[in-house]
Point group: D2
């Protein structure tokens, strides 16, 4: 299974009047980590892999997060992201965000591979993840 | 237990290149619903109840969400929020967001009542929810 | 020229550690007001008018804002938006956001009507605003 | 006058259904650049310099931006930020954001040094920028 690690900085505009990060911002951070994880596995930027595999995206069907320690503006945090399951049309990623070595947030997300519904182009439907993508997500790549 | 219902509109700037809402925005929506739920129970705006009860806020310790149907810019959605548990220093709220009558997202969140740590003012610590607040959250109010 | 007025509430997650709104949020507020202004003039939601007139959107080419008074979470603000100029392929809107009757922010924005570039679909290009749209923006509608 | 350059990446969640960045995100990018510019001049993180100089922040009184070229998710952009004026209690910064060598956005912002109003702690008031800070902003530092 593939994994990825990156760092980012919590910024002033991410924080609320209590002086800590507004929790919705963590999901923006996790989404970026997931994008980078898949980009590295496929050897393409997201804008390219959406075209290469002709699909609409990999929206979430479920997410969970546990917030153990707050983070503040100026904190340099590390996010470790690991693909922990890859099914026929969905996959699950776990994120661990730590601050100064201490685990601050644990998140998990299940996403589904979707295409535009051929019957109703306003809708989207899940579809099997291409075998080549599954291979790269589960064995690393590109 | 208290409950609240409100509507909001998904906006262009909430949506991503797939044309659907960027999922992190749902947590902004849920946070607003929680604020309104507590404001109505306490009969005060958040800026007032933070002062009245001399605390820092009620940050999340855990959240979960299931995304059943996507929403798009222009969709008028309804959010029903219910307090489902109220402990000594934490409480749990469930949100159900529906679009044109269909359940689109289910979310749950557990929050903790925190004050500034007297020992280290940069930190915060949980504290029992005032009895008056517990009474209003669990029996309605003000 | 068309005009529109609406109210919204500044929320906890819109505010920064100084306890006031993080200024980037004002542009989200202005974008929503512009959308509503055009929707009302055309008698269609944005998702519909993008299709009806077969264009990509009306992104900004220029914006200015003056911040006169801060706003805080819980503040109910009013936004008045007026189309002040409508050219061949661009138009200008002015926004005035007030809080408790006092002018807090003045914003102006010039936007351009764009379509996907037929030569390079990754790019977009400006195009004359349809005469029917110009008529409705400048004389009210639908 | 001090200047700073950094790069960042436009992300999926920053972009709208037209596939380009939602323009309000540029102001989040500019705010981060301003913070970094001042942090480097003062040799302290923002959380530290707010305490060291005992003030509330440097909110905007005015901003302008010109959007010349759109940016898309995955674009690595460069932001050059320069202090162009420093008055008694306010200063002006210009930002130039470029994408693949082409100027995409020009922004300018005027900010004011504010403290909590001693008469009414809910309000804030401008105050002269400390001489030491002016020296570092205008001659570089720390």
């Amino acid at each position: 299974m593939i994994a990825n690690s990156r760092t980012t900085r919590i910024e002033w505009g991410d924080c609320d009047p209590a002086g800590i990060i507004f929790y919705a911002r963590y999901f923006e951070i996790f989404d970026i980590s997931t994008t980078i994880l898949i980009e590295r596995a496929l050897g393409m930027k997201k804008i390219e892999y959406l075209k290469a595999y002709d699909f609409l995206g990999h929206p979430l069907v479920e997410t969970r997060a546990r917030f153990r320690l707050p983070t503040r503006f100026g904190d340099e945090v590390a996010i470790e992201s690991t693909l922990v399951a890859c099914g026929r049309s969905s996959f699950t990623i776990e994120h661990r965000l730590s601050n100064a070595g201490a685990l601050a947030v644990e998140g998990s997300e299940t996403r589904v591979w979707v295409v535009r519904d051929p019957v109703d182009p306003k809708r989207m439907k899940s579809q099997p993840i291409p075998a080549e993508v599954v291979a790269r997500l589960t064995h690393g790549g590109p």
